[in-house]
Symmetry: C2
Subunit: 347 residues, 2 copies
DNA sequence: CGGTGCTAGTAAATCGCTTTACTGATGGGC
DNA sequence: GCCCATCAGTAAAGCGATTTACTAGCACCG
């Protein structure tokens, strides 16, 4: 494996010259230049990135920690970040925690360990107490998608609140009055914000009288089925369900199918994420779309452009807008609610 | 950021001692040992991995190139490899090509570029002509899941042929005689092998008289719908469909739903991959399960244990068994086929 | 003719660790 | 008392870049 010195020798110049030429800090006359290029080609020279990093004290590599990579949202997020990183000449090292205890901490440490330029951190569970101090220590960490309360780091979320709002508004406008909501509880930033926006939308709606039944769990298919079942058992009068993730939508659909409830004839459903090809579903599912591409691009941008000495920059929160993608899983219900719905009790 | 020298100074020994102690090539008496450990803790020392790699000429990092990361099978495969790599103390760097021209080549070059210990290469398209020579040049490449014909590299596949066989056998035993198959064409190793096994199973079946209608495309939801539609339009008599990937199953289901065909009452379906939670589907889908975990583990093992000087080892092909996971998407049809099926023409 | 400014480079220190080949001291065996 | 092991560690040469601070040579200007 050829090195700089050999290239320099063959080109009849010094290693410094080759290095500086390659890094653009030296412009050379044509003949020299050509000699170098030839030598490089002849020896099939590839700079050793380790020597490079060692010398420059910089990596050109960013790391991303995700809890999961099979879940469509995370897979898409990783793809988006990879893309953005690639565009900026950074390599992406991906680490998957599978929520195994200690893995998150371990990877966070690796910012110092691996002397990586920075880290994009995505979590999906609330037990993050030991993370805070490690994030603070690591610096050069961007929190993406989910919060770690108290940690000092720039954050990037989608507009969960307004996503919830859009969903609520949409259901209200279609005449739904008794609605089930399934998602995470308030311990998760996303679940709290989505639900808050959702509730506000209903409050803002001219005619009050809403009953919202919330069931909380994790963003999994299993919980989607389970929570949907609970919802239907306890509140048979609901006419619509807001499911806060693609997985929850799938789980909900399964449960509805199991009960022979048709969407949207028997019950309406509106989702969140919109990563799975909901268009292709038997009933195309209306959902709030997360701006995954934009999230990935922005996360990389923040990571690379933040001035890590500036405390203000390190606690900045960026919010990206979401959109409602209308399909056909929400039906209009008559403006005057049925009696059967009426006498149902509020939680 | 502390370095070896500082640790050594603080512990009152030489850098060499610390280094050798840390690498286990020196056993020290308790007091010295303790002094070093204390110094490390006090300075929060983390060895610089670049200096390490530079010095040792080794990376402890393996790279994986995948065409896609959103597709469930690839996401699962990446997760499995990550896991296996982690277990062996290797970092995993993941690169996603999105089938953009040049990206695969570029990443292959990076084995030399990044001086990575090795690379696991997964592709999903047949235009691989320029890849062959690059793989040969890179050495230390394992071909996973899909073949690049002619390249010199160890290969690891699931038993596509026997997967096809199992599917064919299962459908035959359930009395299906007119069957649609959708998958990739023979230009892809997986598509060819799965179809071959499938056909052989039908041939092996006691009572001949099968009609198999094959439609080929790529492993996507879109193609699943499209090919299923073509199949149903051209061969309305088919009683079962073998869909060669999760995506194709989804696409097929969508198309069936669109036509109000129920699974398995109106038509049976058997899938391949079994990564998506098919259990949770409205009709749980019977499918051939790919041993994703095992594929990941084995790929890493091959990468790390192959003697790259040995030409025999470099052209070894490893095949992992698949299993049929029985659910409820395949119905039995009466042993004597209907007249309507009878007069349908073979392709 | 001296000074200034280019051009076209170079020498050498440095990044942080690994590793080979040593050394000095101590203790045991005969 | 001498020799040989063993123990406990060290000095120094890499690994392959980058980068700072220089210099030699030349042209041009006034």
């Amino acid at each position: 494996m050829a090195n700089l010195k050999q290239v320099a020798e063959r080109a009849g110049v010094s290693p410094a010259t080759v290095s500086r030429y390659l890094n653009g800090s030296l412009s050379l006359p044509e003949p020299t230049r050509e000699a170098i290029e030839n030598a490089i080609r002849a020896l099939n020279y590839h700079p050793n990135p380790f020597a490079r990093s060692l010398s420059r004290g910089r990596t050109d590599q960013i790391q991303m920690v995700v809890p999961e990579i099979k879940a469509p949202f995370f897979a898409a997020l990783v793809a988006a970040v990879e893309n953005a990183a690639f565009e900026r000449g950074q390599e992406l090292a991906i680490s998957v925690t599978l929520n195994r205890p200690g893995r998150e901490q371990r990877y966070l440490d690796s910012v110092s360990d691996r002397h990586v330029d920075g880290l994009i951190f995505v979590t999906n569970h609330p037990e993050v107490a030991p993370l805070k101090s490690r994030i603070d220590a690591a610096r050069r960490v961007v929190l993406l998608d989910e919060d770690v309360p108290g940690a000092t780091a720039p954050r990037l979320f989608c507009d969960n609140d307004s996503g919830g709002y859009l969903a609520g508004q949409y259901l209200a406008r279609h005449g739904h009055r008794a609605i089930g909501v399934i998602g995470t509880g308030d311990e998760m930033h996303s679940g709290a914000a989505r639900f808050q926006g959702f509730s506000r939308a209903l409050d803002d709606s001219a005619d009050g009288g809403y009953r919202v039944h919330r069931k909380t769990g994790s963003y999994t298919i299993e919980d989607g089925s389970r929570l949907c079942a609970e919802l239907l058992d306890e509140h048979p009068g609901i006419t619509a369900i807001f499911a806060m993730s693609d997985e929850l939508v799938i789980g909900t659909l399964d449960e509805l199918a199991r009960r022979d409830l048709r969407v949207p004839d028997d019950i309406s459903i509106i989702g969140f994420d919109d990563i799975l090809p909901l268009d292709y579903f038997a009933t195309p599912i209306t959902a709030i779309r997360q701006p995954v591409e934009a999230l990935g691009a922005k996360a990389v941008e923040i990571l690379l452009n933040t001035d890590w000495e500036d405390p203000a920059a390190c606690s900045r929160v960026e919010i990206l807008p979401v959109t409602l993608v209308e399909r056909s899983s929400v039906a209009s219900v008559p403006p005057a609610p049925q009696a059967t719905v009426q006498h149902e009790s509020n939680r």
